[in-house]
C-alpha cells in the first residue's frame, strides 16, 4: 500500500511538473515534447561533465537567450531550444545549443541563413562547418550550434567528437532538402543554397522559396524555386505578382513571364504545375533562357514531383 502511495505521489508530482512546464512554455513541455528532437538528451563524453542545468527555451522566451535574433528563428518555425554546458578538469568549456524546428526544411532554412559559403565544411550531420571555437551543423529537424572556450589546440577534434555524439542522440543525421538537387549545377556557388521561409522577395503573397547564387560568363545572379501546394496555389501567387507589378493580364496561364519589378528590376520566371522557378539580377537574356532551361531539365530529371504523379508533368526542356 505504501509503495502504491509512493508511486501515486511520484506520478502526481511528475504531472505537476509537466503542467507547469506546459503553462510556462505556452504549450511546449519542458520535459518531453513531440517531434523528432523532443526526447533529446545530451550525450556523455569521457573527460567532460555537464555543468549546471540544461536550459530550455520555447517560442515564448527564445528572446531571453538570443535577443533580437529570436524573431528570425520564430519565422523559421522554431519549436524548442535546449542548451547544455560541459566542463573538463582544466576548466575548458563546451556549449551545445540544439534548436529544434517544425520541419527539417525549416531547420535547413535557418542554418542556411547563417552559414558562409567559404566556411570550413565538415561531414557531420546533414552538413556542418567549423570556425575558431565554433562548430555548427544541421541534423534532421535540428540546427545545432556548438562553441568552446579554452579547449586548446585539439578544439576542433573535441567539438567534432561532441557533434558526432549529438547526431547519434538525435537519432540520425537527416539530409539537405532533396529539391536542391534540381538546381542547375553549372555556375552554382557551393553552399549558397538558402530556404526563405516566408515572404520571398519581400512579398507576402509569395510564401517560401529556395534560392542559390550563381556566377556564369562573368555574370553574378540568383536562381529561385517556389514550391506551391498545388497548381491553384501557384496560379494565385502569379496572379498576385502580376497585379503588384502592374502587369495585369486577363488570363493567367502556365508558361514563361518576363516583366519589370519595381524593386527587383528585370524578372524572368516560369510557372508549371506546382512550381515557379526563375532568375534574378541576370540581364543577359540568352544566358537567362539557358539557365532556366537547365532548371526545367533538373526538375524533370530529378523527378521531384514523384509524389504528385497525377498533376501536370513538368515542361519538356525543348521549347525553352
Amino acid at each position: 500500500m505504501k509503495k502504491f502511495r509512493a508511486v501515486q505521489k511520484a506520478c502526481f508530482l511528475f504531472f505537476s511538473f509537466l503542467l507547469i512546464g506546459w503553462m510556462l512554455g505556452n504549450g511546449a513541455s519542458l520535459w518531453a515534447s513531440g517531434g523528432e528532437g523532443g526526447a533529446y538528451s545530451f550525450p556523455e563524453m569521457a573527460g567532460w561533465k555537464q555543468s549546471g542545468e540544461i536550459q530550455i527555451y520555447s517560442r515564448t522566451n527564445l528572446y531571453d537567450y538570443i535577443n533580437g535574433g529570436a524573431d528570425l528563428y520564430l519565422k523559421y518555425d522554431f519549436q524548442e531550444l535546449k542548451v547544455a554546458e560541459y566542463e573538463n578538469d582544466r576548466k575548458a568549456s563546451v556549449t551545445i545549443e540544439v534548436y529544434r524546428h517544425e520541419t527539417p526544411v525549416h531547420a535547413f532554412g535557418i542554418y542556411s541563413q547563417e552559414r558562409l559559403g567559404n566556411a570550413n565544411y565538415l561531414e557531420v550531420g546533414a552538413q556542418g562547418y567549423s570556425e575558431k571555437g565554433v562548430l555548427n551543423f544541421l541534423a534532421a529537424d535540428c540546427y545545432v550550434k556548438m562553441s568552446s572556450v579554452d579547449v586548446g589546440p585539439e578544439e576542433r577534434e573535441v567539438l567534432l567528437a561532441f557533434a558526432k555524439k549529438v547526431v547519434e542522440n538525435l537519432g540520425g543525421k537527416g539530409s539537405l532538402p532533396s529539391i536542391l538537387s534540381s538546381f542547375p549545377r553549372e555556375g552554382e556557388k557551393k553552399n549558397s543554397e538558402k530556404f526563405i521561409a516566408r515572404e520571398f522577395l519581400g512579398y507576402a503573397f509569395f510564401h517560401s522559396a529556395f534560392t542559390a547564387d550563381y556566377e556564369l560568363s562573368g555574370k553574378k545572379f540568383k536562381l529561385f524555386l517556389i514550391e506551391g501546394t498545388d497548381q491553384k496555389d501557384c496560379r494565385n501567387m502569379v496572379q498576385e505578382y502580376l497585379k503588384h507589378t502592374e502587369n495585369l493580364q486577363n488570363k493567367v496561364e502556365e508558361g514563361r513571364y518576363q516583366l519589370k519589378d519595381p524593386y527587383h528590376g528585370g524578372m524572368d520566371f516560369y510557372w508549371k504545375g506546382n512550381y515557379i522557378w526563375g532568375a534574378l539580377d541576370l540581364d543577359d537574356e540568352t544566358l537567362r533562357s539557358m539557365v532556366l532551361k537547365l532548371f526545367a531539365e533538373g526538375l524533370e530529371n530529378k523527378k521531384i514531383n514523384n509524389d504528385n504523379r497525377n498533376k501536370p508533368s513538368l515542361p519538356q526542356a525543348a521549347g525553352y
Binding site: S16, L19, I20, M23, L62, G68, E114, G202
Partner: protein
C-alpha cells in the same frame, strides 16, 4: 531586477497604465515636427534630432534583423529612411555583410549605420561572465567593421544589458571608448529589452553613452516607468531609438487578431522624447505602411480604440467590466479567474496565480457541468477555455511553484 514578478500594487499600477492611464497625448501637447517632401515618391518625412549626436533622422527607420533581402534595404534607403540597424549576431554576421553590399554603392553620408554586440552573460543574473573581456569586445567591433566593409560605424550599441552592473561593466566600456578614440565608431549606444528603466537610468547616470535603444510599446505593463526614464535620457542629451514598437514576433503571434502597425508606431512617436523607431518590416507593403505613419503621426480616435483593444487582447487583460458575471449559471468569479490566467500567461507568476485561485473558494469541479459555455465576454475572451487552462494550477503542490 527582472520584471517577472508582480505584486498587487504593481498589478494595479500596470492595469491603470493599460486602461485608464493609457498614455495618449492631446493634440496641443504634440510638438510641431520638421518635415520635408522627398521628390522621388512624394513621401513626407518627419525628422527628429538624435540628441546631442546632432544626427537628423527620419522618425521611421529600418531594423534589418529579419530580412536578408538587399532590395528591401535599397528600397528603404530610396524611400528616405537613413538609419539601418543590425547586430553582429544577426545571422552570424551575414546580416551586416548583406547591408555592406547595399551601402557600398552609396555615399557615406547618405546613411547611418547602427550595429551592436552582446557580451557573454550569465542569463540568470544578467551579469557578464569572465569571457566578457575588453579584448573580446574589441574583436566584435572589428568584426562588424569588416562585415559591413566600413572604416567607421556611426553608432555601436552595447547590446542587451539588463542590469545596472552590466551597463557599467568596465571592460566593455573601455573597448567602446578606445574604438571611439580610434575613429572606429562615432557614437556609443546601449540597447535594452529587459528591465529597461533600470538600464536606461544607469546609462543616464554613467554619462558615458550617447544613445539608448530600447523596447517601448503600448503593450508593456511598465510603459509608464520606461516613458519616465526615456524622458530623463532625452533631457540628458542622449539620443533615443525605439525597437519592438509592436511588441515583437512572439507577442504578435499570441494575439488573437494582429495588431495594426500604424497605430502602434504612432503611439511611440507621440512621445517627443523618442527620436526614431527602427521598424522590422520584411515586405515592401509593410515598409510603405510604416512610412505612411509620417504623413500624419497623430493618433485618430479609431486608432486609439484599436490600441486599447489590442492591449487588452494581447496583454491578456480582462477589463473588469463585469458583463460576464450575470451570464454564468455557476456564478463563477470570472474576472478574478481571468486575472489568475493573466498572472500565468502574461507575467509567468505561478505562485501569484495559485494564491488567487485558492482564495476564490471555487467548487471542486469548475466548468465541469456545462456542456457549452453561454458566457459572452465583452472583449471576446473564450472564458471557459481560459478557466480550464488555469484551474489545473490549483492542484499543483505549492513547493513546486514557489
Amino acid at each position: 531586477m527582472a520584471d517577472n514578478g508582480m505584486d498587487r500594487r504593481d498589478f494595479m499600477k500596470s492595469t491603470a497604465a493599460g486602461f485608464g492611464g493609457f498614455f495618449f497625448l492631446s493634440s496641443n501637447e504634440i510638438k510641431p515636427e520638421e518635415t520635408t517632401k522627398k521628390p522621388l515618391k512624394e513621401q513626407k518625412i518627419i525628422y527628429r534630432t538624435l540628441g546631442k549626436t546632432g544626427i537628423k533622422l527620419p522618425a521611421i527607420n529600418m531594423g534589418v534583423m529579419n530580412s536578408s533581402n538587399p532590395n528591401l534595404v535599397r528600397a528603404a534607403l530610396n524611400s528616405g529612411m537613413v538609419l539601418l540597424d543590425t547586430a553582429t549576431t544577426y545571422q552570424r554576421g551575414t546580416n551586416e555583410a548583406m547591408i555592406g553590399e547595399v551601402i557600398k554603392e552609396r555615399p557615406r553620408d547618405s546613411y547611418v549605420i547602427a550595429t551592436k554586440a552582446h557580451p557573454p552573460e550569465n542569463r540568470s543574473t544578467g551579469l557578464y561572465t569572465k569571457e566578457a573581456t575588453e579584448e573580446d569586445y574589441q574583436k566584435k567591433i572589428d568584426a562588424s567593421l569588416k562585415n559591413l566593409g566600413l572604416d567607421y560605424i556611426d553608432i555601436y550599441h552595447h547590446h542587451g544589458a539588463s542590469v545596472r552592473e552590466s551597463v557599467l561593466y568596465e571592460p566593455v566600456m573601455k573597448a567602446l571608448e578606445k574604438a571611439k578614440k580610434a575613429g572606429k565608431i562615432r557614437f556609443i549606444g546601449i540597447s535594452t529589452h529587459k528591465n529597461e528603466p533600470e538600464v536606461i537610468q544607469a546609462a543616464v547616470d554613467s554619462k558615458f553613452y550617447d544613445v539608448i535603444l530600447t523596447t517601448y510599446n503600448f503593450k508593456q505593463k511598465h510603459q509608464v516607468e520606461i516613458r519616465e526614464t526615456i524622458a530623463k535620457a532625452a533631457a540628458a542629451g542622449m539620443g533615443v531609438i525605439v525597437m519592438k514598437a509592436m511588441g515583437g514576433v512572439q507577442l504578435q503571434e499570441r494575439a488573437e487578431k494582429p495588431v495594426e502597425p500604424v497605430p502602434a508606431l504612432k503611439w511611440v512617436l507621440q512621445d517627443s522624447n523618442v527620436h526614431t523607431i527602427i521598424a522590422g518590416f520584411t515586405t515592401f507593403d509593410q515598409m510603405n505602411l510604416d512610412l505612411s505613419v509620417m504623413e500624419n503621426p497623430t493618433l485618430t480616435q479609431s486608432e486609439k480604440a484599436h490600441l486599447q483593444w489590442a492591449a487588452f487582447q494581447t496583454g491578456l487583460y480582462c477589463q473588469g467590466c463585469g458583463q460576464c458575471l450575470m451570464q454564468c449559471p455557476e456564478e463563477l468569479p470570472i474576472p478574478d479567474l481571468m486575472r489568475a490566467y493573466m498572472y500565468v500567461y502574461g507575467y509567468r507568476n505561478l505562485s501569484h496565480s495559485q494564491d488567487l485561485l485558492l482564495s476564490l473558494n471555487l467548487p471542486p469541479r469548475v466548468c465541469g457541468d456545462c456542456a457549452e459555455c453561454p458566457v459572452k465576454c465583452s472583449i471576446g475572451f473564450n472564458v471557459s477555455r481560459k478557466i480550464q487552462d488555469v484551474i489545473r494550477l490549483r492542484d499543483v503542490p505549492a513547493e513546486f511553484i514557489a
